[in-house]
């Protein structure tokens, strides 16, 4: 009797061990998009073999005309603008380079650990506009919200996969410190008081991202050798992807183009 149950207990413990180890394997295979901030054990990237991905994002076709924002309702902001403030849905540079695109790498980075930056990423409210209009940070990395306007704003991110919050920030108030726990591209941010104010915050599980500037270029450094997908996201034109393979210490260029007349969803 006793023997039988001992055998059974032994078997089930063995089974449990097998299951647990299987479970571990599974969780490491979970796509990063669904995983919470991955600070779990992993090795740092070896800089001696790491490569670089660079490139330029362009817009094919004429950029839509941006609209003038009517800020008459908020005189304190209105008078900050000598020229009328414009919407920022599509901002291009010379030669159709596209600004405000979040470019990031997708792939299996599960064996590495990426501590989020200690220095906060800042978003400022000035002249009733967000500066910058698009930004990106790592999961768990600090975000600092400041208000340089003489009026009260409220910062209201409307995430799909993160916790939602909505804080007011009167003029001269101390900065609001927040962070996002889960990967999401991109969290829209709005101010309910000044509904023309819009920003997007990309939250990524790895440090392999950059937001393009006026020249549409990006540089993603310290990439371990491997095959990845370069993904570019624009608020109006959606996402576009291209594969890339980085050999040891290799530098690759990936250029992408969004079509102006065919906005993605």
């Amino acid at each position: 009797m006793k023997g039988k149950s001992l055998i059974f207990a032994g078997a089930s413990v063995a089974l449990a061990i097998v299951m647990i180890s299987c479970g571990n394997k599974q969780s490491t295979e979970t796509p990063a998009a669904n995983a919470p901030a991955a600070n779990s054990a992993g090795k740092p990237v070896d800089p001696s073999t790491a490569g670089t991905v660079t490139g330029t994002i362009k817009l094919d076709g004429a950029a839509p005309k941006m609209k003038v924002i009517n800020m008459a309702a908020e005189p304190s902001c209105n008078k900050q603008h000598t020229e009328p403030a414009m919407t920022e849905d599509v901002v291009t540079g010379p030669g159709g380079t596209l600004q405000n695109v979040i470019v990031y790498l997708k792939g299996d980075f599960s064996q590495y650990s990426f501590p989020p930056a200690a220095a906060p990423t800042t978003i400022d409210q000035k002249g009733c506009q967000y500066h910058p209009h698009v930004l990106a940070l790592m999961t768990g990395a600090p975000l600092q919200v400041t208000n340089s306007d003489p009026t009260t704003h409220n910062i209201h991110p409307v995430p799909k996969n993160n916790r939602e919050w909505n804080e007011s920030q009167p003029p001269g108030a101390t900065p609001i410190n927040q962070s996002f726990a889960r990967e999401e591209i991109a969290v829209p941010v709005k101010c309910n008081v000044h509904p023309w104010m819009k920003a997007y915050i990309g939250v990524l599980a790895t440090p392999y991202f950059e937001v393009t500037g006026k020249d549409g270029s990006f540089t993603i450094k310290n990439v371990p050798p491997g095959t990845y997908t370069v993904s570019a996201w624009h608020e109006l034109y959606g996402s576009s992807e291209q594969p890339v393979t980085i050999g040891p210490s290799e530098s690759k260029s990936v250029n992408m183009t969004f079509k102006a007349n065919a906005p993605a969803d």
Binding site: K2, A72, A73, T152, I155, V158, N166, V193, P195
Partner: protein, 1069 residues
């Protein structure tokens, strides 16, 4: 003397050895058998328990070591050490002072002990003498004087006490009585003062200890390693034993077994459900124990510990909720009652909620029983209710009859009483003396008062009748207006292809022969009202109609699109093929006001009244909720369509636009065969007979059949039906052998039980006719095929299985008399009108609109309000007014009274007075508000406070007016929040203060930002820069603003606006 023949020695001549040997063997065999049975055969629970013990104690060992590591880390943490050091430091700091005080207290205690004996003797003597003195009468002056003298002498007696001094020495000290008394009192007072002083001295140490305790509790929740070790110890030494729950409330019978009460031995195998084995703070799953899910070991703790809090096992046992034979232990099959001699088998997992139904049959919503709740909803929505009565759950018709009978009874009593009054008065007039006369007059007076209170009662019952008539709705549309509404050719097609035409329809599919279809269609068509012809409507703007349909809230109940493109709720019809069947003019009328009726129906005369009936009495042909009495006899009429669809208060032009859009929704190739037979009067009689046979009037209003009863079996106690009364017909043997009607093997073996019968009946209501020769359609089973999915089928089976004769005493039945009753009553109404299509009412429940693509992300702000705290938010009188007329205006109705800025709109439901009352009480109950409501008094604002609040409202720091509407068209164009003027009558101050200080707590994701105020000491302070007028103000800023808002006048608002910048919100979308 005859010689006695020698007798055989019985022992020698009849040897018993064989018999004895056989008996010995038999005995040995039975002993072996019983031993085998004891250890191997009949006690499966022994194995289970032993197995469980091993697994559980190894699990506990693992937990203990984990916990120890955790605790060590915790106790080594800097935070804990810091707190602990603070305790030690505070203790050390207090110690000298504490000791000093203790020494003083010790001296006082010694002194008191030294004097106590003496003091008691002295006090006894003085007390006795005082008593004796009081007993001597006032007149006996000399006696009193001598006793007084005696008393004074006693008080003057001196006593010597060995008095311990504070330095430790003892010296004799003399006392008289008064000194003893005062010294004693003083000692006590000194000690009390010292104890208090020590409390002050020790407070820092105690506070520090409390901080440590709280910190430990918050950071190391659950059982500690010592607790776990104790548990593990007791588990390891646990001998397999029978675990038994006895429930036997005195004087009652519990469960089916009669007077002996309930004996459940389930825990003998399901060990982990015993809280002594697995404490309620723990949960145990098979995964915890490393047992695969498929393993039959019953080792998990009860999955819903929360529910056990109000259904304690020691009161409810197991089998009353789960079924099964709680006494049986021999085999799993017997314990679970799954054998032919046990009438209450264990419910299968998919029917687990059935156990709730026994006591919760009259609930509309039962917490922790989602499947049952869904089933009850389906039972109403899918129209089961149209044919099958279910008591305690749906009783509007009974209430109506009851109210009518009560009125009749009261009227007859009243008449009798009224006859008595003159008789009594007359007796008074002729009484022999005034006393008797007055007694008669008094009796007469009492009767007049009684009669008048009966009048009040009758009046209330009349109103109740009015409400009940207004509340009575039908599942399907009114067929009296079929000629005005429907294309004639479509009807016969629909009758035959119900689920094909509209896959989500509630209407079940009848099995009709072609001639039956023709007769039914002809009867329905010819019984419809012939006229008057509808007003001709010009065409509208279909694109605008589509926008309205998608934004006004229609999709909370209706869906559009087919297949994967379907979008919206399934409470009401899918509208994707309306254009194939409906007349445009009728649709316009319907969309404009779905409750509009062509003719009122008189339940008393049992016919529809027309203009000609009104003309006879020279009254205009006007009937609505305010003109609901018959001109013929004054009885209440049915003046509205019996639909739950509310009036969206669209303008007639908007209604035309919506109808124009709807009429475009059709398949381009739709064609229906001509149906001239529908005008054939010869078919009417046969059609009517069939309509009655199939019970169409259960769900539809049909001329001449308004009073048809329900044609189906009452299902109130269906779960108690003996299996012999369920006709499995030709499947009886198959069912016992476990062969399903489709020839496949039943996964659970025999299905010759209630569950099997119900499941197969619901899946195919004609199944038990299979193989029978029934040439006459009227002999066949008539129940149509309900349009339900497998989840709904399981739910309905669960509901039926649970609907048994109660086996528990009446006080186990859930019949709340407190606010929970209001919740049940209200839930009936909110589900009846599908309030959850648009609103979140219960925490955690989602509305249909919340899931629609147009309300995602930033568009969430366009959703209707969350009502989870509605009762705490609004004044119930206001709520009643709003529910009755959500436009909050008699004339300006094409809007929402509160949130005019939203596209989606609260429609008018024409709730009856009873429904209004119940709904208000429901919201109050959901938010635990005391009833009746007494408004909170608001401190009036001082002039200075008014100025301050106004300054703050108009400062750039406070953005209130940028979002909130003010009633000025230019400003409100951009508003996204209600007008402050509404606040006064609408909002409760306490809620408003909670709202403005942290709205995200009440409505996560709301556009209203948090952090407008910060807590300073014990009050709220506005976070932004303050106007100068606030200098020196010590009051609570949130409270000031609440008082200002809730006392806002139109004049003050104009005042505000002249100072404030215009609204900005929603300037761009």
């Amino acid at each position: 003397m005859p010689e006695i023949p020698p007798q055989d020695d019985p022992v020698v001549s009849r040897p018993m050895s064989v018999l004895i040997l056989v008996s010995v063997f038999l005995l040995l065999l039975t002993v072996a058998w019983s031993l085998y049975g004891e250890f191997f055969g009949l006690r499966p629970w022994r194995d289970y328990q032993a197995h469980f013990r091993d697994l559980y104690s190894s699990y506990l060992r693992k937990q203990i070591s984990q916990r120890r590591t955790q605790e060590q880390a915790f106790y080594a943490s800097a935070d804990y050490k810091k707190l602990k050091a603070a305790v030690d430091a505070a203790g050390a700091a207090a110690l000298p002072e504490d000791r000093k005080i203790q020494a003083q207290i010790d001296v006082l205690d010694r002194q008191r002990a030294a004097m106590t004996g003496t003091f008691q003797i002295a006090r006894g003597q003085v007390g006795a003498l005082t008593y004796q003195l009081e007993q001597i009468p006032e007149s006996d002056k000399s006696g009193r004087a001598s006793k007084l003298k005696e008393l004074n002498e006693a008080k003057a007696v001196t006593y010597t006490v060995d008095w311990p001094n504070s330095d430790g020495s003892v010296a004799p000290r003399t006392f008289n009585y008064d000194l003893l008394n005062s010294t004693f009192t003083s000692l006590m007072a000194q000690k009390a003062a010292l104890v208090a002083q020590r409390g002050v001295v020790d407070k820092p140490a105690k506070d520090a200890q409390a901080a440590v305790d709280t910190y430990v509790k918050e950071n190391l929740p659950g059982l500690g390693s010592a607790d776990l070790a104790g548990l593990q110890n007791s588990v390891q030494s646990m001998d397999p034993k029978l675990r038994q729950i006895n429930v036997n409330p005195p004087g009652t019978q519990i469960n089916y077994v009669g007077g002996v009460g309930l004996v459940d031995r389930c825990q003998s195998c399901h060990v982990a459900t015993d809280p002594l084995v697995v404490p309620v703070v723990m949960t145990l799953t098979k995964a915890d124990l490393g047992v695969p899910k498929s393993h039959d070991a019953p080792f998990t703790s009860h999955p819903d510990q929360d529910m056990l809090k109000f259904h304690p096992i020691e009161k409810f046992g197991c089998s009353p909720c789960h079924g099964g034979n709680g006494r049986a232990l021999d085999t799993v099959e017997k314990a679970h009652g799954r054998y032919e001699h046990w009438l209450w088998p264990l419910y299968y997992p998919e029917n687990a909620d059935a156990g709730c139904q026994q006591c919760h049959a009259s609930d509309i919503i039962t917490e922790h029983a989602p499947a049952l709740n869904d089933a009850k909803q389906a039972y109403r929505e899918k129209g089961c209710i149209g044919c099958h009565k279910f008591q305690g759950f749906d009783n509007q018709d009974e209430l109506l009859v009851g109210a009518r009978q009560q009125i009749l009874q009261l009227e007859s009593d009243r008449k009798a009483d009224q006859l008595d009054i003159p008789r009594l008065n007359k007796q008074g007039d002729t009484a022999p003396n005034n006393e008797t006369a007055n007694a008669f007059y008094q009796q007469a007076n009492n009767l007049t008062v009684t009669v008048s209170s009966m009048d009040a009662q009758v009046e209330q019952l009349d109103q109740r009748t009015h409400s009940l008539l207004q509340e009575t709705k039908k599942v399907g549309p009114d067929l009296k207006e079929v000629r005005m509404k429907i294309h004639k050719e479509w009807i016969p097609y629909w009758l035959q292809h119900t689920h094909e035409f509209r896959p989500t329809t509630k209407m079940p599919q009848f099995r009709l022969q072609p001639d039956e279809v023709q007769a039914i269609a002809a009867f329905i068509w010819q019984s419809g009202l012939p006229g008057p012809p509808l007003e001709k409507q010009p065409a509208g703007d279909a694109a605008h109609g589509k926008a309205l349909l998608e934004s006004r809230g229609c999709l909370g109940c209706h869906s559009v699109g087919e297949g994967p493109n379907m979008m919206g709720g399934n409470f009401s019809a899918n509208l994707s093929r309306v254009g194939e069947k409906d007349n445009y003019d009728y649709l316009v009328r319907w969309v404009h006001n779905p409750r509009e009726r062509t003719r009122p129906y008189s339940p008393f005369e049992k016919r529809d009244l027309g203009p000609e009936d009104y003309a006879k009495h020279n009254v205009p042909f006007v009937f609505d909720l305010d003109h609901s009495r018959s001109p013929d006899d004054g009885h209440e009429l049915i003046v509205q369509q019996p639909t739950v669809m509310p009036n969206l208060r669209l303008s007639i032009q908007d209604a035309r636009d919506v109808a124009s859009y709807l009429i475009t929704l059709k398949h381009s190739d739709a064609q229906y065969a001509p149906a001239d037979f529908m005008d054939d009067p010869k078919l009417v009689a046969q059609g009517k007979k069939l309509v009655q046979f199939y019970g169409c009037a259960g769900c539809h209003e049909i001329a001449t059949l308004e009073d048809e009863g329900r044609i189906g079996t009452e299902l109130t106690n269906e779960g108690s039906k003996p299996i012999e009364r369920l006709d499995f017909a030709l499947y009886t043997e198959d069912a016992k052998r476990g062969v399903l009607p489709d020839g496949k093997k039943s996964p659970r073996g025999s299905w010759y039980d209630l569950k099997g019968f119900f499941e197969n009946k619901l899946a195919n209501p004609a199944v038990y006719d299979n193989g029978k020769y029934k040439p006459d359609p009227l002999d066949r089973l008539r129940m149509p095929k309900p349009n339900i999915n497998s989840k709904e089928l399981d739910g309905l089976v669960t509901m039926l299985l649970g609907s048994t004769d109660p086996s528990l005493p009446p006080d186990y039945m859930y019949k709340p008399s407190d606010q929970r009753a209001s919740v049940q009553k209200g839930w009936w109404i909110v589900t009846k009108y599908n309030c959850m299509g648009c609103h979140q009412i219960d925490v955690g429940q989602s509305s249909v609109l919340m899931g629609l693509p147009m309300y995602q992300g930033q568009e969430k702000q366009n959703l209707p309000p969350r009502l989870t705290q509605e009762g705490a938010r609004v004044d119930p009188d206001w709520l009643k007014r709003f529910l009755a007329n959500p436009a909050l205006s008699a004339t300006d109705t094409n809007r929402d009274g509160v949130r005019s800025y939203l596209e989606v709109r609260m429609p008018t439901f024409y709730f009856s007075d009873d429904e209004l009352r119940s709904l208000v009480l429901f919201f109050e109950a959901m938010s635990h508000q005391a009833e009746p409501f007494i408004p909170q008094k608001l401190e009036p604002l001082t002039t200075a406070e008014t100025v301050m609040a106004r300054n703050l409202f108009t400062s750039t720091a406070a953005p209130c007016l940028k979002c909130h509407a003010t009633g000025e068209a230019a400003h409100d164009k951009n508003a996204i929040a209600p007008n402050f003027l509404l606040a006064k009558e609408r909002l409760r101050p306490a809620w408003t203060e909670r709202w403005i200080t942290n709205p995200q707590l009440i409505d996560p994701g709301t556009a209203m930002p948090s952090g407008l105020f910060r807590r300073e000491d014990d009050h709220w302070v506005f976070s932004g820069p303050l106007p100068v007028s606030f200098q020196g103000y010590m009051g609570d800023h949130a409270n000031l603003l609440v008082r200002y808002m809730l006392q806002m006048t139109p004049e003050e608002q104009r005042n505000l606006l002249s100072h404030a910048p215009p609204a900005t919100a929603a300037a761009q979308k």
